[in-house]
Amino acid sequence: MNKVFRKRKRQGIFKYTVNEQWAVKDVSFEVAQGETYGLLGPNGSGKSTLIRILSTLLIPDHGEVRLMGHKLPDEERAVRWKIGRVSVDAAFYKRLSARENLLYSAYLYGLEPKGAEKRAFGILERLGIESRRFSDPLEEMSRGMQQKVSIARALMINPPMLLLDEPTTGLDPKSKRDVQRFLEDLREEEGTTILLTTHDMNEAEHLCARIGFLAHGSLVAEGTAEELKSQAQSVTLEDAFIKMTGEKLSNEEEEGGKNDRRT
C-alpha cells in the first residue's frame, strides 16, 4: 500500500507550494492469526500511519488492505468490531475517571456495562493499578497509569486483533515489564493477533514472532529476529537494523521530528 501526505505552504498572498511526502511506500506484509508481529522504525518511518490505516482512520492512496477477512475502507464497520487500538498518546477525556472512560467505551461497543467494567477492572489490577484509583480523574494519573487504562480499554472489548502503537514508550521500567508480561499472557490465553510498533529492540525481540524494519515509509526487511540478524550478519538486532536501514533508532526517540514529519 501507499500513502502520501500533501502539505500546502504559503509563499505569498495567493501563492502556495505543495510539499509531498511519502508516509508509506509500497509496503506489503501479512500477519498470521494469533501471531505477534512487530514493526520497528524511527519516528517518521510510517509506523503510526500503518496503524491508522488499519484502524480505519486513514485511507491509503493505493493498494489493498485486508484485515480479519474484511477489505478496507469498504468494510470498515465490520473491521471496527474486531480491533482494539492503543496509541502512544493515551486519548481520554482527562476530567473523567478511568471508570467513566471505560464505561463510555463499553456503551460505544454495545457491551453490557457491568460485565465490561468487571473485565476492565480485572485487567487494570493485573497491570498493577489499585482499585481505589478507578474513580480518580485521568488527569490525576501518571502517564504510565493512563497508558495502562488505555490498554484495559482496548482489551475490554476482547478484540481478535490488537493494534499497539508504541504502547510502552515513556513508561517506567516496571510498568513496561507489567505491560509486556500482560501481552505475553494475552497471546497465550486468548490467541489474540497483535501488531506492535516500537522503538525498543529488546521489546520487539522478546515479544514478536516476526519483525519488519521500516525506514522512510518502506518495509526494508522482515523475518524472525534470528533471521534478520543472520541476514545482516550482526550480533544484535540493533546492529542489524542499522545495517539494513542505514538509520539509528536511539537518536529518533524524541517526540515530533524537526521537519514535522508524520509518523
Partner: protein, 269 residues
Amino acid sequence: MMAFIFRDFSLTKRYLGWVVVFTFYAMVNSATIALIGVAAKDEQLTLTLIVGVLLWSFLSVLFNEIASSVAYERWEGTLEYTFMAPVSRLIHLFGVSLYSAVYSIVRLVIVVGALAVFIKLDLSRANLWGILVVLLVSSFAFIGLGLMAAVLPVFSPERGAEATNIFQGCLLLVSGVYYPLEVLPAWLQPFAKLSPATYSLSACRKLMGIGSGQGQQGQGQLVGAPISEVVPELLTLTLMGVVMVPVGLWVFGHVERWAKKTGKLKRTG
C-alpha cells in the same frame, strides 16, 4: 447512542462549575435585557425582548453544543478514538444532538425561573404548548446547521471554532432576536429569510400574543394566538429541518472521508 448521552452527562458533571457559571451568566443576561422593556414601561417590548432572549438562549446553546462537539474532541485528543468506534455517524450525531437538546431545555427552564424573580410574568394566556411545538420543530433546523458547522474544526481546530462563532453571530444579527427586521439595513434583510430563528421568533411572538393583529387584547392581557395562526412558520421550519439535517449529515460524511484521505483526523493539540 447511550454512549454519547452517558459521556456528555459525565462531562457536564465534571465541568459543573463552568455549567453553573454559564447558566448564571445566561440568567443575568436575560434579566438585564428584559429590564430594558420594564424601564420603558412597555409590556409589548418587554415580552418581545423576553421571547427573543429565551429563544436565543435555547437555540444558540443547542447549535453551539453540536457545532463544538468535534472541536471538544480535538482538544481532548479523543476524536480518533470516537471515529474508529463501530457506531454509525448517524447514531453518533443523533446521540450528541439529543443530549444537547435536553441540556438546552433544562438550561432554558432554569433561566425562565430566574427571570420570574426579576419580572412579573403572566403567561397564563400564552399558548405555551404551541411554543413548545415551535421549539421542537425549530430544533431540527438548528441541529442541521450545527452538523454543518461541526465539521469546520476538522479543517482547522482553531479557525473552525472561530468560524462557528462568527456564523452564530451572523444568525443573531439577521434573525430579529431583539428588534423588528425592518430596522435592519435593506441589504441585510433578505438574509433574515435564510435563518430558522426568524421563523421561530415570529411564531413564538404570535403564540405569546405580541404584535398587532397577531394576538388578541382581552381584559388588559395579551392572549396568545392559536397554533393554526403559525402554520406558515411551522411549515417553513419543518422544511428547513427536512433539508438541513440530511445536508448536515451528508456534509459531515464527506468531510470525514476527506479527513481520512488527507490525515486531518490526527490529533493536533
